[in-house]
Symmetry: C2
Subunit: 126 residues, 2 copies
């Protein structure tokens, strides 16, 4: 059942999976026909593109943490977080993001949209 507690738990597991670098655990939270629009305004990714996206985005390591409460409505969770992302080819960057998860009746993430833009990206200690 799609309770607030359940949705909160999925958000917690999602962030923990990213921090652990466990993209298989990330993918297990998504429905088979899920779409990921990250950032908002780009073409939604589906299927294998989603795994590829997470692998590329976080291959150098990432630390993510909530910066406020998860907002939980009838069928969605919205949460503000900060990502510290290390890439092989550049400086460590800090990105301030708001993600929205919409759930399907089975409790999987059906759509994810990520809100951020250039104004929300800074170089760490830069």
């Amino acid at each position: 059942m799609l309770t607030p507690e359940y949705m909160q738990q999925i958000v917690d597991r999602y962030l923990a999976a990213i921090n652990a670098g466990d993209m298989t655990a990330v993918m297990a939270l998504y429905a088979d026909d899920a779409s990921v629009e990250d950032p908002v305004g780009t073409e939604p990714k589906r299927g294998d593109e989603i795994l590829q996206f997470y692998t590329n985005a976080f291959s150098g390591g990432a630390k993510v943490e909530l910066t406020g409460p998860v907002r939980i409505s009838a069928k969605a969770a919205a949460f503000p977080f900060r990502a510290e992302i290390t890439r092989a080819d550049g400086p460590v960057i800090i990105v301030e993001v708001i993600d929205i998860f919409e759930f399907d009746p089975a409790g999987k993430i059906a759509t994810m949209t990520a809100h951020f833009g250039p104004a929300n990206i800074t170089a760490k200690d830069g």
Copy 2:
């Protein structure tokens, strides 16, 4: 033009208008054919329903403030805020919300969605 600075300014004006109790100023930010889904999962409000909604919601006075940066993508702004709402018939409540504004090409808010639920509402000093 839909610059990050412009979208940030609209968010600032929106919150200031609510704090001032100026619902005419709130409405001026919306497109004529705007929809307001507040909270997510309810029937979107349109036209006069939007003014009625704001008037009802904030008739007793409200204080709103950002609790983190406005996330600005190509065509949308997402922002976490805290609302302290006073009603004639009950206690002062604190609501933790994430609003999403999507803009039309003219720079008006075309759709607003508000993410929160019972888990995000507490009585002040309660």
